[in-house]
């Protein structure tokens, strides 16, 4: 049972495998880039290919090919490339050597495939050579109808010329020109080189101008930037320096704050110490005031008071003494004055009495004198003569012994002289004598001694007269009323 099933399964698998291999051998598939050209038994095209060669074109699908009766050939629809090198002449008659490339393929439609298959199916490898020959002629005619400028620039004209010259032939061959490119144009005359020179020169000039301008601008910008950099550097340096200065200042301040605080505190200490010293000084002063000055003041006050008292006492004593002296002098004066007054009264009374008496005596005497006059005149005349003789005799005597004569004369007149001296005090109203009683007696003694000195004086006079005896006639005549005699010379 199991074996039968196993064989059955194995047989089915084998049969499927055989079928797969069979199909694998007979079934052909056309890939997208190829066309299967099937010819042989029963190969009929779908369209109007029946009246010519009968073959079947298959694209994009598979088909069963009966081996032995049919044959399947593959025609590649890939793009092909053919290099072209042509020496030709342009429309301007300039000889050029053109190198180009043409990109072509077999057309995708059945007509193109059929045309192509009929021509190239066995010569696919040599298709490039054939197309090269074909396109060389076409390219020659294309270049001959174009200028170099068109070839270089006008792509539209180039493609139009390609289509115009090759369209019909391409259709015959069943090929499509995808692109024809001119890769290189060798120009033996230098036309192309010269063509570009004005532009190149202009471009070079503008490039140099632009380079110079850009260089100038760049240099200016660089210089401006350098100046700005320098300014910025300067600003930065300045700011940095100012910040550094601030830092230094702050640092210095912070460094000095310690000593400053120390100095400030020391200053406060000094202030306090000064106050303390001042207070101590005040204390010492107060002590001195209390201990020294007050006692000294007291002592001075005592001394001054004592001195004042002593002085006052002395002054009082002196004043008392002066008062006493003054009073005594006043008393003395009073007494002297009284005495003098009394004496003056007495003298005046005496004088008056004597004046009256003298008046009366004078009157009497006048009568007597007048009576006597005549007699006396006679007598005197006689007497004069006698005296003249006496004088001459006395002069002789005087010449011999003057002192004796004078002494005799003075002795005769001595009472009158003393009286005259005492009369000198009679005219004194008020006399102060400081020596008291002794003074008065002394005064009187001096007055009396004048008589003595009068003797010496007379002697001197006599000596003087002896030198001129004729001019001098000394005479002492007593006055009538007792007034001291006048001594004439």
């Amino acid at each position: 049972m199991d074996e039968t099933l196993l064989f059955g399964i194995g047989g089915v698998i084998f049969a499927v495998l055989i079928l797969f291999l069979l199909l694998r051998a007979l079934w052909r598939v056309a890939e997208p880039n190829e066309a299967l050209i099937i010819s042989g038994l029963g190969a009929r095209g779908l369209r109007d290919t029946a009246d010519s060669l009968t073959f079947k074109i298959v694209t994009g699908k598979g088909v069963l090919v009966l081996p032995g009766f049919q044959t399947a050939r593959r025609l590649s629809l890939d793009t092909r490339v053919a290099d072209l090198q042509v020496s030709c002449v342009t429309s301007q008659g300039i000889p050029v050597h053109v190198r180009g490339v043409v990109i072509y393929k077999v057309g995708d439609d059945y007509a193109s495939i059929a045309n192509s298959a009929r021509r190239f199916l066995d010569q696919q490898d040599r298709m490039d050579d054939k197309t090269h020959s074909l396109f060389a002629g076409h390219l020659r005619s294309i270049v001959g109808s174009l200028t170099i400028e068109d070839m270089l620039h006008n792509r539209e004209a180039l493609t139009a010329q390609v289509r115009h010259s090759s369209a019909d032939e391409m259709s015959k061959l069943g090929l499509i020109v995808d692109s024809l490119q001119i890769q290189e144009i060798e120009d033996t005359t230098g036309y192309i080189t010269n063509l570009g020179k004005p532009h190149a020169a202009a471009i070079a000039a503008s490039a140099r101008i632009a380079e110079a301008q850009r260089d100038q601008e760049a240099t200016e910008a660089e210089q401006v930037a350098n100046a700005k950099k320098a300014a910025a550097w300067r600003d930065a340096q300045i700011k940095s320096a100012s910040y550094q200065a601030e830092i230094d200042r702050a640092k210095a301040e912070s460094e000095q704050s310690g000593p400053l605080a120390m100095a400030t505190s020391r200053q406060l200490v000094v202030v306090q110490e000064t106050k303390a010293v001042e207070l101590e000084a005040d204390l010492a002063e107060q002590k001195l005031q209390a201990q020294v000055r007050k006692p000294a003041d007291a002592k001075a006050y005592q001394t001054r008071t004592l001195a004042d008292a002593d002085r006052d006492a002395q002054i009082a004593r002196a004043e008392a003494q002066a008062r006493e002296i003054e009073l005594r002098a006043a008393a003395d004066a009073t007494r002297v004055k009284a005495a003098a007054t009394a004496q003056a009264e007495a003298t005046r009374a005496t004088g008056e009495a004597e004046a009256i008496a003298a008046k009366a005596r004078g009157l009497a005497a006048a009568e007597a004198t007048r009576a006597q006059g005549l007699a006396e005149a006679e007598a005197r005349k006689a007497q004069g003569l006698a005296e003249a003789e006496a004088i001459s005799a006395r002069s002789a005597a005087l010449a011999e012994n003057p002192d004796a004569v004078v002494a005799q004369q003075l002795a005769e007149k001595w009472p009158e002289i003393v009286e005259a001296a005492s009369k000198a005090f009679g005219n004194v109203d008020h006399m102060v004598v400081f020596n008291g009683a002794d003074g008065v007696s002394d005064l009187l003694t001096k007055a009396l001694s004048m008589g003595g000195t009068g003797l010496g004086l007379a002697r001197q006079l006599m000596d003087a007269m002896k030198s001129s005896p004729e001019n001098v006639t000394p005479s002492i005549t007593p006055s009538e009323n007792g007034i001291p005699a006048k001594f004439t010379a």
Partner: protein, 67 residues
């Protein structure tokens, strides 16, 4: 093929072999194009309408204006 629309890639005009791109067979292919009325000129980039087709790759076109 006839009735398809396409775009001119090579100038179409009398005496010229123009080129048009037409969508066909799932891709776009270039066809040789001639003016249908023998006198008109169709510049590059304009739309065309295929009025006739000739094997293998020739179409006759006229200008197509979208309404």
């Amino acid at each position: 093929m006839i009735g398809k629309r396409g775009r001119v890639t090579g100038r179409v005009g009398p005496g010229l072999v123009g080129e048009v791109m037409i969508s066909v067979r799932g891709g776009a292919e270039a066809f040789y194009a001639y003016p249908a009325d023998e006198s008109s000129v169709i510049e590059i980039g304009q739309q065309i309408l295929v009025v006739d087709f000739e094997e293998p790759r020739t179409v006759y076109v006229q200008r197509w204006r979208t309404m």
